[in-house]
């Protein structure tokens, strides 16, 4: 039993001796020095109200964002209204332009224009006078059937066809 234990120990020693020696890094002293110095620094602690302050700031941020959104709303509404106005005006303009172009004939030279009554302003009394003359009763005008004969009698006029007053 003892022999067995000794053998075990010796093999263990051999294994341990086979392990490589670990050396300290080159900057060991430097690292230790810096750490020793920095270890003397006290730790800065957050204030007691830290959590409440953060939550309050979060709420404030939310509120200010909401306010900002509300403040921005009229401006956006204005832009929207302006955009819509421009769109409506454009649509009306387009409609009018296209409607006029539809009425105009595609080939105007082929279509006879409709007669258009022309009214002229009466700028003188001539037309009225003419109209009056047209409406006035016409005098019966006898057309002589025979050429008028001039008699030598100074006062007596012989009219053909008329009853002879002398008879």
């Amino acid at each position: 039993m003892t022999q067995q234990a000794e053998n075990h120990n010796s093999s263990l020693n051999q294994l341990l001796q086979a392990l490589p020696t670990v050396h300290a890094p080159d900057d060991f002293e430097q690292e230790t020095f810096v750490r020793v110095m920095l270890d003397q620094l006290p730790r800065a602690r957050a204030p007691q109200s830290f959590e409440d302050d953060v939550l309050a700031r979060l709420r404030e941020d939310d509120q200010s964002r909401r306010k900002l959104r509300l403040r921005r709303l009229p401006r956006s509404a204005r832009w929207l209204a302006a955009g819509m106005g421009a769109a409506i005006a454009g649509a009306i303009g387009y409609y009018l332009a296209t409607r006029n172009s539809d009425d105009s004939p595609p080939h105007p030279e082929l279509i006879t224009p409709q007669p258009v009554p022309v009214e002229m302003q009466l700028d003188s009394g001539i037309e009225q006078r003419l109209l009056r003359q047209e409406n006035a009763p016409k005098k019966v005008q006898r057309h002589p059937t025979a050429p008028e004969q001039h008699s030598s009698a100074p006062t007596k006029r012989v009219t053909p066809g008329a009853p002879n007053e002398d008879e």
Partner: protein, 199 residues
């Protein structure tokens, strides 16, 4: 970042359902880590708290973008890093670093100081040693500073840092080494003062 994954998953699931309880518990779990990370990176406690709050607000708003099964902590730190970096960019654009620090009488004093002259926040770093270490940390370029803070202060693994910073593992290692080397140079005098022996 030692969290029970099951608890974390349950809380994330509650957050997906917009349950305030889950969100609150997640904040409680991570708030100190985030504030500490942001403070060590930015050097201002007020900015750090602001970064942490902003991070959680983003988490709440964009939780739908989180892939179930991924590490929530890593995602959280990645958001915090982005928020902190944009704050740093904002500072650079302004050319100054607005700082609120507590003076000796406990009053908050507003300062408008250029980035190169960092004034430690005494409300967090009350000791001279802590102030000088933080001062040195602020002199490390941000790209190396964030890697050192995430590794040596927050204890993230190299893989997690690679995920947070969205860079290759090799890049993370070199950034950490570089950052540590700069910090070692800057803190050498302080170390000698503290231990009485040269490093």
């Amino acid at each position: 970042m030692a969290r029970t994954p099951i608890d974390e998953q349950e809380l994330v699931e509650l957050l997906f359902q917009r349950k305030e309880e889950g969100f609150r518990k997640l904040m409680t779990l991570y708030k100190d880590d985030l504030v500490n990370y942001a403070y060590r990176f930015l050097g201002s406690y007020d900015d750090a708290v602001d970064v942490a709050q902003e991070t959680f607000i983003k988490v709440y708003r964009f939780i739908e973008t989180f892939q179930r099964g991924a590490r929530f902590g890593t995602w959280l730190f990645a958001i915090a890093r982005n928020v902190a970096l944009s704050m740093l960019e904002d500072r650079k654009r302004r050319g100054t670093v607005p700082l609120t620090h507590t003076d000796d009488e406990g009053e908050d004093v507003e300062l408008d100081i250029p980035d190169v002259h960092y004034v430690p926040d005494r409300s967090v770093d009350s000791t001279i040693v802590a102030q000088r270490i933080q001062e040195a940390l602020m002199k490390v370029p941000p790209v190396f500073r964030e890697a050192v803070v995430l590794r040596d202060i927050e204890g993230l693994t190299y893989e997690e840092i690679a995920e947070v910073c969205n860079v290759e593992l090799g890049t993370v290692k070199s950034r950490i080494n570089r950052g540590r080397a700069i910090l070692q140079q800057l803190l050498r005098d302080l170390y000698e003062e503290l231990t009485g022996k040269s490093q």
